[in-house]
């Protein structure tokens, strides 16, 4: 456990994170997740966080060393997409039984499991995840992985992020540490080039990175590794030869970006592919970094031309929604980057933002939100379910954009809702993605069900009719209702 504690301490000391730098030494030691209240906690554990970051690596076998629940209740449940290998969607777990635990057979079973996977699937690497129970009984997965690596001649990587270590966010960071310790830099690419970049923290949910990659291709930029979306093991193993990096999801992988800069001199910037101006800015920043690292400066001009073209097309497409969406009120209830990066484009076509969550936002995020929202009061840390329900059922917003966790609060309040978190069905990145987001908002708000489901039952809004009828004669009441339907719209 001691090496794990050291890792955790390290993860909570992040010079590249503004929020982290703003704390004193003591507060920093406590980490960035608030301590949990029993009976009032929500969210995943460190193991969950680690698996989220690593599982989209498509040709790796992900083996969870645990009793059933950790993997059995959670496999094949995320929206990342692969352009090739499907092994990452196959679930592997040691499924420890009572007998395994009592007899202390955990490590043996793990080793045998690795051998079975190697023989049946021959993956380029196996990632082995420790969990609460296997950490508690003291299974040394690092030793097992080391032995298996030697014996089987393939990369067997220990991911030491048991759930009890802390939050999902911590798990993200521990996963990044595992990549740094065991994967990145272990393979030398035979074709490094001046236009090689890494994208960090992009998950390719609903395939949305494919809305961006063709733009990079057009500019002659090669994505050495996208971590983790649609990644191959070898791409990540040779990611240290990229010339520049963009970090997309800031809370998840900032330490990875910073340490890759320290170790391999890969400069990075924080950016986003959500929103039109953000996408343009991300492209500009990328080529600037490449030029700084020796690429031909002519790429700068080509980039501006591409941006101008793409922006013009996107704005033209968005303009067609203005009439339908002008004055509509959006409640954004999600963390981090997504909050501010889409706000600008939504406001540009006349949509009002009536509130946004800033739970995961950085200081900079908050400043930007303040500028666009005008009223501070529209920013909230988090809202209780009952409060959110009240706000929506009083129709103080026309639609809520959020993640699955609050989906049913909106729906039960009979309010349009759109998923913009990991389970979402539509790709929202890049120029086309922004247009898709606006299209989905339009479809959600203007669906004809809303006026229907908000209509009370006709017999509930005709008190005089109910009063006249004896309760036992329901059949007769229904007959009357047939007549009432004709006037139902007035009630």
């Amino acid at each position: 456990m001691s090496s794990l504690s050291a890792k955790i301490k390290d993860a909570f000391d992040e010079p590249a994170c503004d929020k982290n730098r703003g704390k004193d030494a003591k507060a920093r030691k406590e980490g960035c997740s608030k301590s949990l209240t029993p009976g009032a906690a929500a969210g995943g554990c460190a193991f969950d966080g680690a698996k989220i970051v690593l599982q989209p690596i498509t040709d790796v076998a992900h083996l969870v060393h645990a009793p059933l629940a950790c993997e059995g209740n959670s496999w094949d449940n995320r929206g990342a997409v692969s352009s090739g290998p499907t092994l990452w969607r196959t679930s592997f777990t040691t499924d420890l039984t009572e007998l395994d635990l009592v007899m202390g057979q955990g490590e043996r079973k793990l080793f045998k499991a690795i051998r079975e996977i190697k023989h049946t699937y021959a993956p380029p690497a196996i990632f082995v995840y420790s969990t609460c129970v296997t950490a508690l009984i003291g299974d040394d997965i690092e030793a097992v992985c080391k032995r298996a690596t030697e014996k089987f001649g393939l990369a067997v990587v220990p991911i030491n992020a048991p759930g009890l270590a802390g939050s999902k966010n911590l798990g993200n960071k521990l996963a990044a540490e595992a990549l740094l310790d065991h994967v990145i830099g272990t393979v030398e690419p035979d074709d490094p080039g001046p236009y090689d970049i890494n994208i960090l923290g992009e998950f390719n949910l609903s395939g949305e990175f494919w809305l961006v990659k063709p733009l990079l291709d057009r500019l002659g930029i090669r994505v050495r590794a996208c971590i983790p979306g649609d990644a191959r093991y070898r791409d990540i193993a040779s990611a240290h030869r990229a010339r520049a990096a963009m970090m997309v999801c800031s809370t998840a992988l900032i330490s990875l970006a910073r340490k890759m800069e320290e170790r391999w001199d890969i400069p990075f910037f924080e950016g986003s592919f959500y929103g039109i101006s953000d996408t343009s800015q991300a492209l500009r920043n990328l080529v600037r970094l490449l030029v700084r690292k020796g690429a031909d400066p002519e790429i700068l001009e080509r980039t501006e031309t591409l941006i101008a073209q793409q922006e013009a097309i996107a704005w033209k497409k968005l303009e067609s929604y203005r009439q339908r969406l002008q004055g509509k009120r959006v409640l954004l209830n999600t963390g981090g980057v997504k909050s501010w990066s889409v706000v600008h484009a939504l406001m540009e076509i006349g949509i009002e933002i009536v509130g946004t969550s800033i739970k995961k936002s950085t200081v900079q995020d908050k400043e930007r939100i303040k500028q666009v929202l005008k009223h501070d009061k529209h920013m909230f840390e988090s809202m209780a379910a009952s409060e959110l329900y009240a706000m929506l059922s009083e129709h103080r917003a026309d639609i809520m954009l959020s993640g699955g966790r609050t989906q049913f609060i909106a729906l039960k309040a009979k309010t349009p809702w759109l998923d913009i978190n990991q389970e979402r069905q539509h790709p929202y990145a890049g120029y086309d993605g922004m247009v898709e987001l606006v299209r989905q908002i339009d479809l959600a708000i203007h669906n004809p069900i809303w006026s229907q489901v908000r209509q009370p039952a006709p017999w509930d809004c005709q008190p005089e009719l109910i009063g006249e009828l004896p309760c036992t004669r329901n059949e007769t009441a229904y007959l009357f209702d047939e007549f009432a339907c004709a006037t139902a719209h007035e009630c």
């Binding site: 929500a42 969210g43 209740n73 959670s74 635990l101 129970v133 009890l164 039960k412």
Partner: protein
């Protein structure tokens, strides 16, 4: 008699199981005003919660004691106490159903003792809230066991013990976890049509049937009332459905003397006939005309449907009682059970499964055993095997997350059997292979072998 083949692999590939505490939480969710509480780290709860939400498309009340490193080393009784008090203050549940997890069970904590202490210490504050415990480590069992343990825990913890004056029309029904919302609604109608008064525990048809309440409720809204659980002992008879419900039925018998009848399955003509006869004999009422009509409809469905079932090879992966229910359904229409995979070797029902063997295993086993089958029958996670093998998948059980309305699918009694015959026959018709000259060529593949 089916041979039971034990699991022989070290790496489970594509698990068939969902965890035992999830099964217990599922049962607690069938009680009105309930709040299930996982005693473990927050991830245990988060995974189960997400899976339940994906299946039901509903907000699911489920909380966690949020054990951290310190609690794991020093003991988690404080966390349990704090969680119970917080839940009581914030959500005012009538029932808190504590489900233990592998983490707390591996530590070997005395959760029953802890809960007794908590109840003693906060008698006043916790008045009006029942707290029951199901010991459900993840390293043992699956949904069936968790569900049965939770129902047993509720009977042992809440039902008033001792022989009571019996209500002549009251029937206690203990449905297994393989019954859907629609199954329970339909069964209630059937029982009521004989003039009987069913009390169903757990009753997910009241809580997980997907409605729109007019206010925000943090606990379940609907389901068996705690008062009804308390008064189970006044029932004339108890009907348990599924072998895994024998344990709670026995607990009720031991506690109150209410005798039970156990139905291993309510799917198929013969089992339904037995059920209907029983209702008729308990109530003394004749079988109502509409029930007779349903029976005739099922007979006709069997006549029309059997053409599609005869000789078909079916590969099923499900928990023991559901495996038995489905395997007897298919075998009863002339199909062959080509592969039967289940989660545990402990259930007595497995020997009765009409298959040569039953493999204890996972969906990886199903995928290798199902080569050449005509139909896969399992939950949504079978979709990858279905794609790879090119065999259609009938989604059934838990979880079904990539189709809507699984809870409103009926699979029991005359009507449910009829509907299922139609569903399967429709799948076969939609996946028919048109005859080709090559496939029919009499000289193809004809080797004289001896």
């Amino acid at each position: 008699m089916a041979r039971i083949l034990p699991q022989s692999k070290s790496a489970a590939v594509n698990p068939l199981k969902s965890s035992q505490p999830l099964g217990a939480a599922f049962a607690f969710l069938g009680v009105d005003g309930a709040m299930p509480l996982f005693h473990g780290s927050q991830g245990c709860t988060s995974f189960a919660l997400v899976l339940l939400v994906r299946h039901f498309k509903e907000a699911i009340p489920l909380q966690t004691t949020a054990m951290d490193e310190v609690a794991t080393i020093l003991g988690a009784a404080d966390h349990l106490e704090e969680a119970i008090l917080n839940l009581k203050n914030r959500t005012k549940p009538t029932l808190i159903g504590v489900c233990t997890t592998a983490l707390v069970e591996t530590r070997g904590e005395d959760c029953a003792g802890d809960i007794a202490n908590i109840m003693r210490k906060h008698t006043q504050q916790l008045a009006g809230t029942e707290v029951v415990l199901a010991n459900t480590p993840d390293f043992d069992g699956a949904i069936e066991e968790g569900w049965a343990k939770a129902v047993t825990a509720m009977i042992e913890g809440i039902t008033r013990s001792g022989e009571r004056a019996r209500h002549p029309k009251k029937i206690a029904i203990l449905p297994g976890c393989n019954l859907s919302v629609a199954d329970i609604e339909h069964m209630r109608d059937m029982v009521e049509s004989f003039g009987l008064k069913p009390v169903i525990l757990p009753d997910i048809s009241g809580s997980l049937d997907g409605t729109v309440p007019d206010r925000w409720v943090a606990t379940t809204y609907g389901g068996t009332s705690v008062e009804d659980i308390r008064e189970l002992g006044t029932a004339m008879r108890c009907i348990a459905i599924g072998e895994h419900m024998r344990r709670p039925a026995k607990a009720l018998l031991g506690l109150t003397g209410v005798p039970y009848v156990l139905f291993q399955s309510l799917t198929g003509l013969q089992d339904t006939d037995r059920f209907v006869s029983l209702l008729s004999s308990i109530s003394g009422a004749a079988v109502p005309a509409r029930v007779r009509r349903r029976r005739a409809q099922l007979q006709d469905a069997m006549l029309d449907g059997h053409f599609h079932f005869g000789g078909k090879k079916i590969a099923i992966a499900a928990e023991p009682d559901q495996l038995f229910q489905l395997a007897t359904f298919f075998a009863g229409l002339g199909s062959e059970i080509a592969a039967a995979v289940t989660t545990t070797d402990r259930s007595k029902i497995l020997k009765k499964v009409p298959a040569v063997s039953v493999q204890i295993g996972d969906l990886g086993d199903l995928e290798s055993l199902a080569v050449g089958a005509d139909l896969l029958v399992t939950h949504s996670h079978g979709r990858q095997a279905s794609e790879r093998l090119g065999i259609p998948l009938m989604r059934i059980g838990f979880p079904v997350f990539d189709r809507l309305g699984s809870q409103h699918k009926l699979a029991i009694l005359y009507q449910g059997t009829r509907d299922m015959i139609f569903e399967v026959a429709s799948i076969f018709q939609a996946n028919q292979h048109a005859p080709t000259p090559e496939a029919l060529d009499p000289l193809r593949n004809r080797e004289i072998s001896r």
